[in-house]
Symmetry: C2
Subunit: 266 residues, 2 copies
């Protein structure tokens, strides 16, 4: 199992994260999850642009340019012989002394790992998480950071309640997204998704659907799910129908035509 760490390919067993890495001690960093299809990264430019934008918000220098990172991902894909799969690119602020303030001269860590594509997902049943809310008042809700514990808590609640996934409300009670994907709801013939201001991560797949006119932004409440024709979840790994929420069917409780059409167009 080969990984790419700080400039070179190596066996995963040899890759070492320093115990003082602020990614480990404070969640001080960002990541991207990228789909690999036919041996190539899908939408690599968009992912690297989002990483770069997030790093600016955190004032975190990215130690490799987009071309070098694209080459690193290609090298890992080649070393792993990956045709279809998933890459994860993690950027942390690197080691630091004890305490919250970032070091003045950081040496960030960049790690790229590969994994097989998860098995094709069927229809999903979700709960609306009651244990936590997504904080739309924090810029972190708009960045893919290493601070993922609210999603972990929501997903644990989903498992306890016998569901596959959890939807998170924001602090105002509006729907934000799921634990790992953006939410799309078909209402009166329009496909809508919560705006970033409501705590939705600006997902790459979400951006593509918006740009291509397949969806539009609108604030959503749990009541909207009750009157939706259908709903689906979308992230870089694909689109999955959402057929039930809190035990009640969405639409007729089966994958809907908008999901089918958009999935086929992928």
């Amino acid at each position: 199992m080969t990984v790419w760490l700080n400039g070179r390919l190596m066996a995963a067993a040899e890759a070492r994260i320093d115990p003082a890495d602020r990614g480990f001690t404070l969640g001080d960093g960002l990541f991207e999850t990228l789909r690999v299809a036919g041996g190539r990264v899908c939408h690599g430019d968009r992912h690297l642009a989002r990483l770069s934008a997030g790093a600016r918000v955190l004032d975190l220098p990215v130690p490799y340019g987009p071309d070098a990172l694209a080459a690193a991902m290609a090298a890992l894909i080649a070393a792993r012989g990956l045709e279809d799969g998933v890459l994860r690119l993690t950027l942390s602020r690197g080691t630091g002394a004890r305490g919250v303030p970032p070091p003045p001269d950081p040496h960030p860590t960049v790690l790229i790992t590969a994994a097989p594509l998860p098995p094709p997902g069927g229809p999903m049943r979700a709960v609306i998480a009651t244990v936590t809310r997504r904080n739309e008042h924090s810029p972190l809700s708009r960045l893919k950071t290493l601070n993922y514990l609210d999603s972990v808590l929501a997903r644990q609640e989903a498992a306890r309640r016998g569901a596959d996934e959890a939807l998170l409300l924001n602090t105002a009670g509006r729907l934000a997204e799921s634990s790992v994907a953006n939410l799309f709801v078909v209402l009166e013939g329009r496909t809508v998704t919560p705006p970033v201001a409501d705590g939705a991560l600006p997902g790459i797949r979400r951006a593509l659907l918006l740009e291509r006119g397949h969806a539009e932004e609108r604030s959503l409440t749990p009541d909207d799910l009750a009157r939706a024709g259908e709903a689906f979840l979308a992230n870089s790994l694909g689109l999955r129908p959402l057929v039930a929420v809190d035990g009640r069917p969405v639409g007729n409780g089966a994958p809907g035509p908008v999901w089918a059409a958009l999935s086929a167009a992928e």
Copy 2:
């Protein structure tokens, strides 16, 4: 530099965090910061009880009992010859496959590191962070988790604005705490601190001050700082006077008598 990792003392340079550790990939874990004085951990029982309570919320098994962790800290203190200093005990969920759901059979990571005591701190000037808010709707606001990026952002804002520290508001606009300490404000002769429900971490020092009758819980707004007699910040490393907020003096702009009395009583 010796550290304690997963059951044994070793050189820091030999200590390895696996790149797949969920502490690094998702911030999936907790930590404690403990004061060492006279070669002994201060309030170790309380810190370990808080760690255990937080681990229950995260459904994260703690692989060593309190006695074993206390012995581990004592061994590290002895190996480092530490008289006065700071320990950090970090518990993460250990390695996991790609994705948010925790592994069914986790092998958590426990790391204990030591650092010298920071130089005695003088009076502090803070800003009220505008870049982010603390999420009192999440149980994570009541746990000392590895998700520390909101505090990092707030502290970066403080540095940009020429201050030493940042106070965080919760999503309702109430004062929650500072980036690394609980807030205490003296109002009409009473020392008050925000309740945990407002997003304050239940700090060990805070608990001691409340139990001993030195302070009481009350919701606070920024306006309260303008009419405060004095204010101070408290965490496991001590009490520090807060003499200015957003460029305006708190009280007469000098360390106050309540801070002086409580510091002397420590």
